[in-house]
Symmetry: C2
Subunit: 332 residues, 2 copies
């Protein structure tokens, strides 16, 4: 090895951050990098995710409410659906949603595939139907070819549509946040304030619900444990699924990954800022009144949970054919 190469190698080693051992006993774990098992299905699912022809109007796509340029949500209190209808609940981010135990705030969909079929056919959201989506896609030659390549069948089925969208969504994980780098042993990845915020987050009991790789998303919990949560939003939560009155106001604990990007917060979108969200959570879930300094510390920690941006390439949607049913944005 030449002397200059040796010098390079030495410089490289010096430049690496001082890595301690990974922190294995923390209640939060780093996000695993997503593994793409079927790149063709993921690419097809990406097209479908961005395709407004899945809606009756031709305006709304999955990406309208789960905007991948904006943290995978729409940053609205509740979403805007077909003909500007006001949605019933705050749109959760699609980022890292594959790590959740179930989908929707009330967990009524067991997986992403089932979830994907919901908004397409919801008259207040994309307002199409599964049959109509199959008709539209089957009229677009490039889609027919792509579905055949991925699934090996001649006829497009809605189950293939939702499976492809889910396969794409499974790739939407955001590893490499500063917090994850710290968990992996890079002591300098967090500031002192951020570390203090994490300590307070643990000591106050937030981690009881917000834990695991997604910092949430892995349990259902009552909104308003210590003090009833006051809201004008009519959602009853998990009771709608189980029928059990004890499940009233029980919701899936949202993931706090990328929470800096996904305001406003809670199922009703009532907390406009992270500071408000921390204050309300402390009060109604834990019976705590955080000081302004404590809130600032926790918020500083929460902002370290923003992962590496997705760096997605916008798909090129295949053109409609002469037989493709046209969008109907202004008809009832």
């Amino acid at each position: 090895m030449s002397r200059s190469l040796l010098l390079c190698a030495a410089a490289l080693i010096t430049a690496l951050p001082a890595l301690a051992a990974p922190l294995d006993d923390e209640p939060i774990q780093p996000i695993p990098v997503s593994r793409v098992s079927d790149p063709g299905m993921v690419e097809l699912g990406k097209k479908l995710f961005f395709d407004p022809r899945l809606s009756r109007s031709g305006l709304l796509s999955c990406n309208s409410c789960h905007n991948l340029a904006a943290g995978g949500s729409d940053n609205l209190t509740s979403s805007i659906g077909h003909r500007w209808q006001k949605g019933p609940i705050n749109a959760p981010t699609v980022l890292n949603s594959s790590l959740h135990l179930a989908q929707f705030w009330d967990g009524r969909a067991p997986d992403l595939k089932t979830q994907a079929g919901g908004p397409i056919a919801n008259p207040a959201e994309m307002a199409s139907s599964h049959a109509q989506v199959v008709t539209v896609l089957s009229s677009i030659p490039a889609y027919v070819t792509e579905f055949k390549t991925v699934f090996g069948t001649d006829a497009i089925e809605i189950e293939q549509v939702t499976r492809s969208i889910a396969a794409f969504e499974e790739t939407l994980v955001t590893p490499d946040s500063r917090f994850d780098r710290w968990l992996k042993g890079d002591a300098k990845a967090l500031t002192e304030t951020e570390r203090a915020g994490y300590q307070l987050f643990k000591d106050s009991g937030c981690v009881a619900c917000h834990n695991g790789p997604a910092v949430g998303g892995n349990s259902f919990q009552k909104m308003g444990v210590v003090e009833p949560y006051s809201t004008r939003n009519p959602s009853v939560g998990r009771m709608a699924v189980t029928g059990d009155p004890d499940d009233r106001m029980v919701f899936k604990v949202p993931s706090l990954r990328n929470v800096e990007l996904t305001a406003p917060y809670f199922h009703d979108g009532a907390a406009a800022t992270l500071t408000q969200a921390v204050e309300t959570m402390g009060r109604v879930q834990l019976g705590l009144t955080f000081t302004p300094e404590e809130k600032a510390r926790i918020v500083a920690f929460l902002k370290t949970l923003t992962g590496r941006p997705l760096a997605l390439r916008l798909p090129a949607l295949p053109p409609s054919s002469d037989t493709t049913p046209r969008p109907r944005p202004f008809e009832e």
Copy 2:
């Protein structure tokens, strides 16, 4: 040079298409590749183009009606604006729009920068105001930093916003269509039918208006030269700009680049398919009745004008701060 390398080189030469000399005397020229003069401004403009916070509702961005995944338009007869208002005219594609002599169907904006300010403040489109957009962007720390890096000033100005969007849009050119490869001398880039379609396109007189690198976009012409164009769309065209009654129903000739992707056609979006558009144009502009075979031939040629897809990376929009004014989608 080794024998195997020589063989490789020989194979490479054989694999290249047989290039004749470029066709220099054609009425259509290849699209020049865009030159990015200020990458920082282009990147900022891309963020702004995709940012729904430029609208009052927080739902609509430039990309809502000029969808870069779908040929730079929305494939709707007329666009959907704030509170689902029906737009007055078909949204033209933003692709290759920098090659146009002016912007909007009636050419009322001399350039892309002027155009970009329009929809933002139009109550029927994005329904914000220039002052509000500046307030919103100035409340987002990462934008303040980025504007300062690009423009060297502390305060964000609307002129910087529109200039950045225009700089991004100038990069949205789509070279390398099959037709351009043919123009450059690759005789095999077009089929016999497509070449026959181009010949008919020229012989029929379509090139009188659809010429130049954008195959249009470089003149204003009357819609309905030979026969009045019948439409329910109330637009008067260029008369709205000049006040001259002779300019009634005079519109900018649209570019035919990527026309396969931008249905429906005409300022009123009345032609749902390329075949219909060719039929109508032949009749009202040229006094010709094309046979079905002739229409198919011209349509085959038009589909060779689809350029290389953009391959854009979706931007990561910076998060709002606690002081960012919130979207107001459901207020009057």
